[in-house]
């Protein structure tokens, strides 16, 4: 638990710094709200996701994308997990691809196989105007590419600075 809080603090400080720097330099920033689905380890039961994220543009082709995501296994309110993630994405026109990390902050049950594991994330997607589509793959560091989850979400984008 102590480790999770330390990670959280570290990521928070890092993202806070990036946000401040981006604002100071008048960089493009936007936030998005998204809904989607994710498979569990055994690809049987569905995990539903609700998320909020941001894209901080560090140049024409690079953006840092922090996000919060709430997972609910099989729509059960007793198996929830709140995740904090961040990814470094490369953007080319409407496409983006990148990778990052997904850290569970709070999880209400350890019953589901993938809950509570810090994972690497690879994502690919499209952003067309205000619509953002993302497909991603998660793999826990402790079972790297032995356990894989795939997910996708659809989001709506709100601009903080004009594009």
């Amino acid at each position: 638990m102590k480790k999770v809080f330390l990670n959280l603090l570290l990521i928070g400080l890092l993202l806070g710094g990036v946000f401040q720097q981006a604002q100071a330099q008048d960089k493009k920033q936007d936030v998005n709200l998204n809904v989607g689905g994710l498979t569990n380890q055994s690809f049987t039961g569905p995990i539903f996701t609700l998320g909020a994220g941001a894209d901080i543009h560090l140049g024409k082709h690079v953006m840092i994308s922090p996000e919060f995501q709430l997972w609910s296994s099989e729509l059960r309110l007793d198996i929830l997990q709140l995740n904090l993630g961040a990814a470094l994405n490369f953007r080319l026109k409407i496409f983006f691809v990148g990778g990052g990390v997904n850290i569970p902050i709070i999880h209400t049950s350890t019953k589901t196989d993938v809950f509570g594991l810090i994972s690497a994330k690879i994502n690919v997607g499209l952003r067309i105007n205000r619509i953002k589509l993302t497909a991603y793959l998660l793999t826990p560091f402790e079972d790297f590419f032995e356990c894989i989850q795939v997910g996708a979400n659809i989001g709506i984008v709100f601009y903080l600075k004009s594009p």
Binding site: G36, G37, L38, T39, F43, T44, G45, P46, S73, E74, L75, R76, K93, I94, F95, V124, G125, L126, L133, T134, A135, V150, G151, A152, N153, I154
Partner: protein, 155 residues
């Protein structure tokens, strides 16, 4: 009834003298290209000697790619979800149809992304440099262009 003639490829020809001509490729002759100029609407003959590069402007149909990806991805996802059968997780119970919808959603989004990427790659313009090419290489390029002309058997 006459069959509708297929339009020729959209070309941008950069000439050695620095000028540029853009238009529909009407015909490929022995030593020249005949274009329908996009701006003036007039026929323009461009001599082989004057060509620097030819860019073939391809049409990008992202919407069609997205649609096809959605149908294929969603369809496969739906079938896989349905084939997995019911999922029981008290107090919830997901029928095979629920699982089909869930998988169709995930695979549908993935299909759209893949479809758009494939369409964008397919629709990427192709630039053919002419400078430094041998006669036989130029004739080879002309043969390929002939297939993209409105009139394919022009002499």
């Amino acid at each position: 009834m006459f069959a509708r003639e297929k339009k020729g490829a959209d070309l941008i020809i950069q000439k050695i003298d620095g000028t540029e001509v853009r238009g529909e490729l009407i015909a490929v002759k022995q030593n020249s290209l005949l274009l329908l100029d996009r701006f003036s609407g007039a026929d323009v003959t461009i001599d082989i000697e004057g060509i620097g590069t030819i860019k073939i402007v391809k049409k990008t149909n992202l919407l069609a790619g997205a649609g096809l990806g959605l149908i294929i991805g969603g369809g496969i996802g739906g079938l896989v979800g349905f084939a997995g059968g019911d999922v029981e997780s008290p107090p919830f119970y997901f029928t095979a149809a629920d699982m089909a919808a869930f998988w169709a959603f995930i695979a549908g989004i993935e299909g759209v992304i893949i479809g758009v990427i494939v369409s964008a790659l397919k629709g990427k313009d192709k630039t053919i440099p002419f400078i430094g090419k041998s006669d036989s290489e130029i004739q080879e390029i002309f043969e390929k262009l002939r297939k993209k002309a409105r009139v394919k058997n022009a002499q």
